[in-house]
């Protein structure tokens, strides 16, 4: 590594970042980028890419390690200083004010002045200059809210360039783009490269990485697995290093004995608010007594699918039936009354009310039912007993049922959510990222509970970005890629992680006949 230090415009050495909740996001990561290259940074969700880039951009401060720019050590304590050092970042969520014009967004924070007034003409000029320099086609006077996603992204890139960014971080830039926009973006990135800019390109899409990246760093589980020339690696090689498993989980479970179909999804399609298709004619069945895994890189339609099945998002095309009941016009309560449950992806936003006690968080789905109320009052004793029972059974570590839930650790909060959703003995449950960000003990516990629930006769959908988890825990699984079912494995035992990686990253795709087997009730 030390051999070509001179070429390295950026070196991050031994970066370790531990979050306050104890989660170690980066473990002694080394990362170096050469001047004028497009450098791919890849890794599974949670591998530590975002944290590393946040450290670089001054949003997070590392616990150990140092950053060298052009061989000199620098302290980057906030985004402003990162900008000063010539580092620019294009976030996945655009940092733009929609009602303002492009030019105004471009210059915010570094507004040109004419006397004391804001010089709009100058801002337009500046925008045009920088756009021309990099051959971007953008109208400085149009309003950001009228732009397409691709154009917004251009504005973001130009914004960084205008501030003198020599190193540009692009966080999954193609995730929100249409194929045409992606092509256009790549043309522009090559142009930037030609002009001597260095680009750090975060992506899951191997085809794209092969197309435009020079070198690649692969992160796995918070560590750097290695860096290499992209052309020296095949897509399979990358996929293998990314999704390799460190520990093979040892989950005790008997083979599944699937029974009747509980959930059937047919021809389900959805578009997001930008008009991009997020689900494309998805059909599958989930049966009682099986854990049905949905794997895939995040942003390939899993969230939309989960929200539709649980009633949080309306849908127009296709059908979703739970126990033969179409749920299109049902309220969430009606859907839940079909004996369904849901462990949400974002537990802090949807799963709990922080200031409310553990007890009350445990009954949010059932508090209104007859058996919990008597003459208008809630049955306090019964609720207390049930809460204590759940706290015990689900090993929630707390000061008692009256403690506000926000005081618990992430793992214990998740145990409360799981306790609520599992203890209703659902016929169908959707479990979305059940172990994200929680400690090992809680993770193991939650997984055991999922298996137990299956054995008790529930139909379970497990959505997880953790490949390990989805492969080990599921009985059968599908892989979603760009809103379509890329693969269906009726039995997870025989899958290799290499295979999975290829389907997840779009290298391979099964035929409709093969994936059609996921429909058990023709």
């Amino acid at each position: 590594m030390a051999d070509n230090v001179a070429d390295n415009v950026l070196v991050m050495e031994n970066i370790t970042k531990v979050y306050p909740n104890g989660f170690v996001a980066n473990k002694n990561v080394n990362f170096s980028v050469r001047k004028g290259e497009i450098h791919a940074l890849v890794g599974e969700n949670g591998a530590g890419k975002s944290t590393l880039m946040k450290v670089l951009f001054g949003i997070e401060s590392p616990d150990t390690g140092r950053i060298l720019l052009n061989g000199k050590e620098v302290q980057i304590s906030n985004p402003s200083s990162a900008i000063k050092y010539g580092i620019g970042m294009v976030h996945q969520h655009f940092m733009l004010a929609p009602s303002l014009t492009v030019a105004e967004n471009m210059v915010m924070g570094i507004e040109p002045k004419n006397m004391f007034l804001f010089d709009f003409a100058k801002a337009v000029q500046m925008t045009q200059d920088v756009a021309k320099k990099y051959n971007f086609d953008i109208d400085p006077k149009s309003h950001v809210k009228d732009l397409s996603v691709g154009q917004k992204q251009k504005v973001e890139i130009l914004k960084a360039l205008m501030r003198g960014a020599q190193i540009l971080i692009l966080d999954e830039p193609t995730a929100v783009l249409t194929p045409q926009e992606t092509t256009e973006l790549f043309v522009q990135l090559k142009e930037l490269k030609k002009q001597g800019h260095t680009i750090i390109f975060i992506s899951h899409k191997l085809r794209e990485i092969k197309e435009i990246c020079d070198r690649i760093t692969i992160l796995r589980d918070g560590r750097s697995v290695g860096e290499a020339e992209v052309k020296e690696l095949s897509e399979q090689d990358i996929s293998n290093s990314m999704v390799g498993r460190n520990v093979v989980l040892d989950i005790q479970k008997t083979p599944a004995e699937p029974k009747e179909t509980i959930l059937s999804v047919r021809d389900l399609s959805a578009v997001n608010k930008f008009g991009k298709t997020t689900l494309n004619h998805v059909s599958f069945d989930v049966r009682r007594g099986e854990i049905f895994g949905i794997a895939g890189v995040e942003g390939n339609g899993q969230s939309e699918l989960a929200e539709i099945i649980t009633g949080l998002r309306p849908y127009l095309k296709g059908s979703v039936k739970i126990k033969n009941v179409e749920i299109q016009n049902l309220s969430i309560r009606k859907i839940r009354e079909l004996k369904t449950s849901h462990v949400p992806e974002d537990r802090m936003t949807f799963g709990i009310a922080g200031d409310v006690s553990i007890k009350e968080n445990l009954i949010s789905d059932r508090f209104y039912k007859k058996e919990y109320n008597h003459n208008g009052l809630q049955k306090a004793k019964m609720i207390n007993e049930e809460s204590d029972g759940n706290i015990q059974e689900y090993l929630v570590k707390c000061d008692g049922r009256e403690q506000p839930i926000r005081m618990l650790s992430g793992g214990n909060i998740q145990k409360v959510v799981v306790a609520r959703e599992f203890s209703s003995n659902p016929d169908f449950i959707l479990v979305d990222q059940p172990t994200r960000g929680i400690d090992v003990g809680a993770t193991e516990f939650v997984r055991k509970q999922i298996v137990k629930l299956r054995d008790d006769g529930s139909a379970i959908i497990l959505i997880s970005a953790d490949l390990n988890e989805v492969m080990e825990l599921s009985d059968s699984l599908i892989v979603l890629y760009e809103g379509e079912i890329a693969a269906y494995f009726p039995d997870t035992k025989n899958i290799t992680e290499q295979e999975m990686g290829e389907y997840m990253l779009g290298i391979k795709k099964m035929s409709p006949e093969e994936t059609g087997d996921v429909i058990h009730e023709k």
Binding site: A380, K381, N384, E402
Partner: protein, 375 residues
């Protein structure tokens, strides 16, 4: 378990409040008797003709440059002319505070005479006066109910404000050049409408074709709105505006001053009130319809000090008693007009003119009076 604890605490709360009630009763008794004996001792010395200690309780706030200020002025007059000790207490417009304040004053052995005013206080005073029969009370601008020999310790002063506003109407109607005069009241209530009824009657007497514009501010505080109403009336042709709006009346005076029109003040002599601080305003005042609260209560206290005041009776003071009337005239008011007003005043005193009143009139009857002079 937990619920049981809560229930227990709820019961405790109930029990405690009950205890309050019980202990309240017992301690109240001793309190009451102590106060009563205190005041008996006081009334013993009272007859010796010593300088009286007077409390004036106002159910509003000072600063209206009119009614309540006039009462406060009475306190000053008592101090300087009679050597009394006085204390003016503002009970504010919050009705729930009036009874406590009155009781408080009644229990205070220092006060020999307690003065209150307005119709709203009459019922409350009757109740308190019965509880403290040894205390002496004066009420102005209203009368307590003396039926069945009640309220032997209360002297009541009533005013014929309709008489002075009648004269204000005469003066206004004779001074207008446009044939339109205005009236801005604070809120539509009976005393304010009593002013209005007299005003309209007087104006019609002086000029049968007179038009009177009537507006109400909606409260007694929004000076800006009062000014706006005044300007609107001036805009619609009024060149003399009579205000009966307490604090908000300042806006009426201000509006007339700004537009060079005349305003008729109320209760106190408002030309005098502004003479030193704001001569421009003083010059806009045509005259004021006076309700001499100050003079009447001072007179009553003087009689009380001499032991001649007729407690247990009500007196209605009007023009004949010099307790209502008009204040100083603006120098722009001609001698002719002044004489004409005096003429009408004499007729009222002699009883040949009977001035109408709003008391006992329903809203629709008052609407009819207003309608008769609407342009």
């Amino acid at each position: 378990m937990k619920f049981g604890k809560r229930l227990l605490s709820a019961i405790l709360v109930l029990a405690m409040s009950l205890t309050f009630v019980l202990t309240g009763c017992s301690s109240e008794e001793s309190q009451g008797s102590a106060a009563a004996s205190g005041s008996t001792a006081q009334s013993g010395t009272e007859k010796a003709g010593k300088k009286l200690n007077v409390a004036i309780l106002l159910n509003g706030t000072l600063g209206d440059k009119a009614f309540f200020d006039s009462a406060a002025n009475g306190a000053k007059m008592m101090e300087s002319e009679l050597g009394c000790t006085t204390k003016v207490i503002e009970m504010t417009a919050d009705e729930t505070k009036w009874l406590p304040a009155l009781t408080d004053a009644s229990e205070n052995p220092d006060y020999d005479i307690i003065i209150v005013g307005t119709w709203q206080m009459a019922e409350k005073l009757a109740q308190i006066a019965a509880q403290y029969p040894d205390k002496k009370y004066i009420i102005f601008d209203s009368s307590v109910d003396y039926k069945d020999g009640k309220c032997k310790n209360v002297y009541s002063i009533e005013y014929k404000q309709n008489e002075c506003s009648y004269l204000a109407g005469v003066a206004g109607a004779l001074s207008t050049k446009t044939g339109k005069i205005g009236f801005v009241g604070g809120m539509e209530n009976t005393v304010i409408n009593d002013f209005l009824v007299g005003y309209i009657q007087g104006a019609k007497a002086a000029n049968p074709n007179i038009k009177v514009l009537t507006s109400y501010v909606g409260n007694f505080t929004d000076t800006a709105h009062a000014k706006e109403l005044t300007l609107a009336q001036i805009n619609q042709g009024a060149d003399v505006v009579f205000q009966a709006a307490s604090n908000a009346g300042l806006g009426v005076i201000d509006g007339c001053t700004a537009k060079g029109k005349f305003v008729i003040g109320v209760d106190s002599d408002q030309a005098l009130a502004f003479q030193s601080s704001d001569p421009a305003k003083a010059n806009a005042v045509l005259t004021s319809a006076l309700k001499r609260v100050d003079i009447s209560i001072t007179k009553a206290v003087k009689e009380a000090q001499a032991g001649t005041l007729k407690f247990g009776e009500a007196e209605t003071l009007g023009l004949a008693d010099n307790c209502v009337g008009l204040g100083t005239y603006n120098k722009g008011v001609s001698k002719d007009v002044q004489d004409k007003v005096t003429e009408f005043a004499e007729k009222i005193k002699s009883g040949s003119i009977k001035v109408d009143t709003a008391f006992g009139k329903s809203t629709s009857e008052i609407e009819a009076v207003k309608k008769s002079v609407r342009p």
